[in-house]
Each structure stands twice: as structure tokens, then as C-alpha cells.
């Protein structure tokens, strides 16, 4: 843990101290054991209050994670595990419960390993809550979740199918849907001469963005029209025929919901075909996309998303970034951030339950704790002085989080160019 020199540049002194403090506390707790009657101060105190027995100290809590650990989506699972692990370290250091992560590999979205694996987590690993990622691999769990009452945080690839499901809480913007309107509005404003918009979708979550939102919003915000609408299969690596059609459609801009590795292949081939029109995407969480797309990624590509920026000066985020970097020698990404937030929310709910005099455990008891207050700190948005805020809708279990439009740079580095709101054409400053 002597990487100070490496991560000092570009960071506030306060953040560094916080991070170092967190390390020290976590180390000391590791030696001296956990259970303490008194309130404990820790790195998370500014946002979650003091730790201690009433916050769950001394309690061992098994939290399942249903992720892609193998297959082409393995990078997601790795990032998510790291984000969640960072949170559990900080929670323990702050006098919260000892959250033990139990992993299940759904192999990149396969249903049977997801369902069987989560059953294993429930009966063998005795998990009391679950974090999950991917569309089908999470949706397939809904009957099981409803049956056993397992509070679940859907923090990767979340779609509208999870809305209103008991015990399922969506901790991220709905994939493609939430930011689509704002993204289109930004595109129209930034490129006023762009009238003909090409829509390219992938038939998973977010088809409504292509089929409904864009055709409705784009004429409003730009006075233009939809030049073409295309869908491609998941797993496509050759976009030749699509690109030829795209060129002849004479589009001025592209709005696409292609995600995962495919997005890297797509951007690279579009740019290599000499098509330089702006591309507005809705997902660039995949760390491999910049690898695949190479320098093409830095050419006029935008992202409308609950975009995560490690350099966001928000102190909650600074703590996260420092702790993460200290452990993994690399800055966290979008997926790590989402699982970090969700794990902290889990700890907060456990504390709330204990404070309400109930025994936290499986069943809806944790979900009930949301009623005490639907807002939590977020590593998104905020300012150098205060953390961002994420607020849950207690009816449909969706979340409202700071959203933004980002310009993508080399290596996938994001620069925020505008702030947007869920389902709104209102644009705010970066």
C-alpha cells in the first residue's frame, strides 16, 4: 500500500487523508476485532453517521452477488466485485456490519447458472441480500426473489421489467430509457445542423428508447427527422452491411443503444469507414470497449448516462476512488461505482433496521427500511463540498440519480459536457 506517489497527482489533499485514514482504521479493526459497544467514527461517518453496535458492528452479513465472472462480460463482474469489496472494507472500518460477499457466476447472462447459483447462495452460503447484474440473468430471479423475500439491488444492466417488483431495488438509471431524452436534447443543441438521425438498437433492454422515445423527442428538439432505424444482434462483431446502409442514409448523427463489447466493434468500424458524424450512446461502462475501439473512441462520441467520473470532486466519491485505487492500483469505473453505492445502501438499511429495533435478516424487513428515507449519498453529481444524492421512488423502486452527457476521450476517459434529468429535455451546465 505504498502507492501514494502514484495517486497523489490531481487529487485533493483531503481525499488523500481520508483514504489513508480509512486504510489505517480498517487495518486496526482487522487486528483488534470488531464488537464495540460505543459509537465508532470511520471514513463513512460524514454520510452514514457513526458506526457501532447499532450500525451493525459485530454482525456478519452474507451478501450475494450474481455477476458475469466468465465469458465475454467477465470484465463487468470483476469491476462490480471490486466496487462492492471496496464498500465492505469501508463499512467494516466505519463500525458497520461485516459484509461477506458470496459470488455467483452467471457466465455472461445465462439463465440456468443464474437461478441455480443464486439458490446455492441462498441455501449454502446463507445470503441475506443480493446484488445482481444483467437483464435476463436478473429478471429470471424475480420469481425466486419474490418467493423467499430477498432484498435485491439491481445495479447492472437494469431495465424497466424490474419496476414495481417487491424487494427489487434498481440502483442505477434505467438502461437507455432514463437518459435518452436528455441525450437527444443535447445532441440537437450541440449540433444544430444535424437533422437526420440514425437509430441503431440492440434488442434487449432499452428498445423503447429506439422505438418510442427517439422518434418522439428528436423532431421536438431538433425539428429534424429519423433517417433510419436498425437493430443488430447481440454479439455482432462485423457491422459492414449496417455501415454501408448508414452511409447511404445520409444521417447527420447517430443515436445508439448498442452496448457491451459490440459497442467497441461498432464505433471502431463506423469511424474507420470515414463516418465522422456524432454518436450518442447510452452505455460505456464496459471497460473493454476502449480497448476494442482504440482511438476511434475519442472521435466525436458522446454518452448520455448516469455517467461515472472518477475525477468527480464529490468527497464521497473521492473516498471511494482513493480506497479503490489503494487496493487495485487502478481507478474505479461505472460498474464498480454502482456496486459500491448499492453495498453502502445495504449497510445503511441494516443499521436502520437495528435502530428500529428489528432483527435484520432475509425477507422484506430490509426493504421496509427504505421507508425511513428514500435518499442516499451518491458518487455521482454533488460538488467538492457535498456528495451527490440518489433518491428512490418507493412505488416503482427506481432511482433518480444525477445524469449527464459525457464526451468520451482516449482510453474511455469521460468529460462531462452537460447535466440532464430523467425523461426531460432540460439541459444543465457541466
Amino acid at each position: 500500500m505504498t502507492t501514494k506517489g502514484k495517486w497523489q497527482d490531481g487529487l485533493s489533499r483531503r481525499a488523500v487523508m481520508l483514504g489513508t485514514g480509512a486504510m489505517a482504521v480498517s487495518a486496526s479493526l482487522g487486528v483488534s476485532g470488531v464488537a464495540r459497544a460505543q459509537d465508532v467514527s470511520g471514513p463513512l461517518e460524514p454520510w452514514f453517521g457513526k458506526g457501532g453496535k447499532s450500525a451493525g458492528a459485530g454482525l456478519t452479513w452474507n451478501h450475494g452477488l450474481n455477476l458475469a465472472l466468465t465469458g465475454t462480460g467477465a470484465s463487468f463482474g470483476q469491476a462490480m466485485t471490486r466496487g462492492a469489496t471496496t464498500a465492505t472494507d469501508l463499512i467494516r472500518a466505519s463500525g458497520g456490519p461485516t459484509i461477506v460477499l458470496k459470488l455467483n457466476d452467471h457466465q455472461g447472462g445465462l439463465v440456468p447458472p443464474a437461478v441455480t447459483g443464486v439458490r446455492r447462495l441462498i441455501s449454502q452460503e446463507r445470503i441475506q441480500s443480493l446484488g445482481s447484474s444483467y437483464g435476463p440473468a436478473t429478471e429470471a430471479l424475480f420469481p425466486l426473489i419474490a418467493n423467499v423475500g430477498l432484498t435485491t439491488f439491481w445495479s447492472g444492466g437494469a431495465g424497466p421489467t424490474g419496476l414495481g417488483k417487491t424487494d427489487v431495488w434498481i440502483t442505477m438509471a434505467l438502461f437507455a430509457l432514463d437518459p435518452a431524452t436528455g441525450g437527444l436534447a443535447y445532441l440537437a443543441k450541440r449540433f444544430p445542423s444535424a437533422k437526420r438521425l440514425a437509430l441503431i438498437g440492440q434488442q434487449e433492454n432499452g428498445t423503447a428508447a429506439i422505438n418510442e422515445i427517439a422518434p418522439r423527442v428528436w423532431p421536438q428538439v431538433s425539428g429534424g427527422q429519423i433517417a433510419s432505424t436498425e437493430f443488430v444482434n447481440i454479439g455482432t462483431t462485423d457491422f459492414s452491411s449496417l455501415i454501408a446502409r448508414l452511409k447511404s442514409a445520409k444521417a447527420d448523427a447517430i443515436f445508439t443503444t448498442i452496448y457491451g463489447n459490440d459497442q467497441g466493434y461498432f464505433i471502431k468500424q463506423v469511424r474507420e469507414a470515414g463516418v465522422d458524424i456524432p454518436i450518442m450512446s447510452i452505455d460505456l461502462g464496459t471497460p473493454t470497449v476502449p480497448d476494442i475501439a482504440g482511438s476511434a473512441i475519442a472521435n466525436n462520441c458522446f454518452l448520455a448516462v448516469d455517467g461515472y467520473q472518477p475525477q468527480n470532486p464529490n468527497p464521497y466519491n473521492a473516498l471511494f476512488v482513493e480506497t479503490f485505487k489503494a487496493k487495485y492500483k487502478t481507478p474505479p469505473d461505472y460498474f464498480a461505482a454502482n456496486f459500491f453505492e448499492a453495498t453502502n445502501i445495504l449497510a445503511a438499511l441494516i443499521g436502520r433496521t437495528i435502530k428500529a429495533g428489528k432483527t435484520p435478516g432475509r425477507g422484506s424487513v430490509l426493504s421496509d427500511a427504505f421507508q425511513a428515507g428514500p435518499s442516499f449519498p451518491s458518487v455521482y453529481g454533488g460538488s467538492a463540498a457535498a456528495a451527490g444524492v440518489m433518491t428512490f421512488n418507493l412505488k416503482d423502486h427506481s432511482v433518480t440519480k444525477p445524469l449527464g452527457v459525457f464526451q468520451i476521450g482516449l482510453g474511455g476517459v469521460l468529460t462531462k459536457v452537460a447535466t440532464i434529468e430523467k425523461n426531460s429535455t432540460t439541459l444543465g451546465p457541466a
Binding site: G71, E230, V232, S241, E272, A273, I292
Partner: protein, 290 residues
Amino acid sequence: MNQLLQLIAFGIVQGATYALLAASFWLIYATTRTFHLAHSVTYAVAGYAAFVISVQLGLSLWLGAFASVISAAAVGCAIDAILYRPMRARGASVLSIFLASLGVAAAGAAALQLIFGPLVKQVPGFPNATLYLGSVTVTRLQVLTAFCAAATIFLVFLFITRTRTGNAITAVRTNPTMAMAVGIPVERISVLVFGIGSAMAGLAAFFETISFVAYPTMGLQPVMFGVIGVFLGGIGSIRGAALGGFVLGFLLVFSGLFLSQNLGVILVFAVLLVVVVFRPEGLLRSPSGA
């Protein structure tokens, strides 16, 4: 019109790659009658070889290309010598050789994942650029890939038709008994075609890796397309196989004229079903009944 020209350009690029894959599978399949799906492992190993040499060891891309081709040839030869040859000697059925091949394909991809991890591996460094021909665009790498693919097929074609060893391959392929009678060591020829065919797949894998990335299951789809190309074009000659691969690439791209991209694949399988059922000898009948 522009769209048509662009589709032609992309069709040539894709077609050339698939033709190379089809020719590589054909050489192995037609000569030894092995339905060698483990070719996908060879392909992926070649991709990772480029990564190891050019990225992990930091050597030049040229050495990476060399490593891809050599390692592919070595893997192909090893699979034939260690696995298929004893099975053939024991008179194993087509089916059991195919199943063993499936086993290698499955275990090989999983082993690569255990060794290199599941994440994609990038091999950067090729000075790529977009070339404009009017409104039609191709990249330098695409041109190079297509050129190398075509040149390789042509060289292998020359090798097979013009050299003594190449003629021996044709001899074994078309008349194994007579080949034995004139003293051509059939098993050595078998290892040789596995080596050459695998090296061709290794070249294709190298270009895919430097164009995009390498990952454990990267070989499955290209090999499937190669297989389809062979059966589409005809198993009677390398020209048929290469034509089949080319038609396949062209078809996939050209379906874009009237079909959405996601329906192009369906079209390909539909065409394949029709060809297999109604014209099992493939589009190109071989000359002289070989």
C-alpha cells in the same frame, strides 16, 4: 449506387477473410475427412500468441504475426498427431472423431480462459488509416487483411497444384489407396495439411486480434463460417471452398441491401440449409469427379 459500391468493398474484405478460413478448414477436412471443430482452439491460440509476443514480451507486430502462424501450425499438428492419428489407426468412426474434436474445442477454450483470464486482450500498434475511394471507405488494415488472405489462398493454391508435395496432398485426398501404392506416407501428409491449414487459420486470427482483440472463444464463429463456406462452395477443390467462403462473406454484407443486419445471419443459414439439402456437392462442382 454509393451504397452498392460500399457494400461491394466490404463484401470483398469480409469475403476474403471467410475464404481464407474456408480454405483452411477445407484443406484439413477434404484431405483427412476430419470434421475438425477444434480448429477454433487453434484459432484462439494464434490470437493469444500474438498477444504474448507483441504485448507481454513487447516484441514487434511482425514477430507477433509469425508467432500466430507458427503456434497455430504447431497446435494443429499436435491435435492431429496426438489425437486423430491414433483414433484413425484404430478405425474410429467419423462420429467419435467429431465428438473428440468437440471435446478439444470446449476444453481448449476453457483452458485459455484459465490461463489468460476471461478479459479480452488487445494488441495495438498497427498504423491504421482510412482510405477514401470517392465515397467508399476501407481501412488500410482491411486492405492488408484482404490482400494477405487472397495472397495466402493463392499461394496455397499454387502449392497444392504446382509442387510435388502439393500434388501428393491431392493424391491422398482423392485416392488414398493409390497414394499408398506409390509410396506417399499418408500420415505425414495428414500432419502436413493440419499444419498448413492451421497456419492459415492462425493468420486470420492474427488479423482479427490486431484489428480488434483476442478472447478465449474467438475461434468459434470464424470456424463455423469457414465450415459453412466449405459446404456452400463444395468440398471438391480449394477453389470451391474459397468461393464458398467468399460468397458467404458477400452474402452477409450484401443482405444489407434489403435486410436489416440482424436478419442477414438468418438468411445465411437458410441458404446453407437449401444448399445442403438440394445441392450437397456445393455450388462449385469439382472437375474430373475428384
